[in-house]
């Protein structure tokens, strides 16, 4: 897990100097790709699978990542809209963004529930448990970095 901390520490530090004036979606996209790469490396380093388990687990993992990536894209779009409206955020836009954020959190949870059930059907529970322990830690770090890079809603003058 050390690798993950170093990776996110680097992003965390660089984001601290980012500007609010423009939202660089390409930059965030690159960060997202790197994050998935690191995610896979950590799972690979920490989850030792038999050949038989790997045959079942890896295609499920690919699908899980693809589905979570769609959620990440939704979140990125929502963040972009927030940043674009940052200096002039009216109540209607703020509420719309908040409602979307709630939906996105629920969607992430639904995917997790769906894949946990699928994995438990075919793989030993301790293995599935370890995967979701790692998954939760990585997502928490990703979320922390993401939130640190987004300014708080401005207080009204």
């Amino acid at each position: 897990m050390k690798k993950l901390f170093v990776f996110f520490l680097l992003i965390f530090t660089s984001i601290g100097f980012s500007q609010i004036e423009s939202f660089d979606s390409e930059y965030f996209d690159e960060v997202k790709q790197d994050a998935w790469g690191t995610y896979l490396e950590i799972i690979d380093d920490n989850l030792v699978l038999t050949e038989e388990q790997a045959e079942i687990f890896l295609p499920m993992l690919d699908q899980y990542i693809a589905d979570q990536n769609k959620v990440a894209d939704m979140r990125l779009k929502n963040t972009e809209e927030y940043m674009m409206n940052y200096y002039d955020l009216d109540d209607a836009t703020a509420e719309d963004l908040l409602n979307k954020a709630v939906e996105i959190d629920q969607e992430r949870m639904n995917i997790k529930r769906e894949f946990m059930a699928k994995m438990l059907e075919k793989l030993p529970a301790p293995l599935v448990g370890k995967f979701f322990q790692l998954d939760a830690r990585i997502f928490a770090l990703i979320d922390l970095v993401r939130m640190s890079s987004i300014p708080l809603v401005r207080e009204e003058d």
């Binding site: 920490n46 908040l98 997790k112 529930r113 293995l127 448990g129 939130m147 640190s148 708080l152 009204e156």
Partner: protein, 157 residues
């Protein structure tokens, strides 16, 4: 945001103490984190006196509802730790499903209180509150994870 850094330092100090006495640490962490979280929200959420009058009673209810989920989560973690060296598939599955249910329960509480807050406060204030709340929650989550070992996989898993 300076207080957030102090808060992180505080969590790190408390975690070091965890090596010596876990149950004392848990109690200290629970009471201090609740108090510190509220202080952080107070410092970073500038409310008018009228807004404060409606916000804080609902916040206290929200905090209490989340504290109940935290208690259940700590029970689940404690059960995991007790069974750590001899975790069979049935126990692992039950702990895993319980953890997921608790995640959903927390999301439900957040959504329920989001509706309550949005009904009486400007969305920009509610947005700022949930940004702070989630940031604090992620720090707590990561700090707690640091003290929970990953599942040990045996050759039979």
């Amino acid at each position: 945001m300076k207080s957030l850094i102090i808060f992180i330092t505080f969590l790190i100090c408390v975690t070091s103490f965890a090596q010596d006495d876990r149950s004392e640490w848990i109690d200290l962490l629970k009471s201090n984190v609740q108090k510190e979280s509220k202080n952080l929200i107070k410092q970073n959420l500038e409310l008018t006196s009228e807004q404060a009058k409606v916000f804080w009673p609902i916040y206290d209810e929200y905090d209490q509802a989340l504290a109940e989920i935290t208690n259940e989560r700590l029970q689940n973690i404690s059960e995991y730790m007790v069974n750590y060296n001899d975790l069979d598939s049935a126990k692992a599955e039950s702990l895993l499903r319980k953890a997921l249910d608790l995640d959903q329960k927390k999301l439900d509480v957040q959504n329920k209180y989001y509706e309550k807050f949005i009904a009486i406060l400007p969305p920009t204030v509610v947005g700022r509150f949930f940004q702070l709340d989630q940031y604090i929650e992620l720090l707590i989550h990561l700090q707690r994870s640091e003290n929970i070992p990953l599942i040990q996989l045996k050759s039979t898993n």
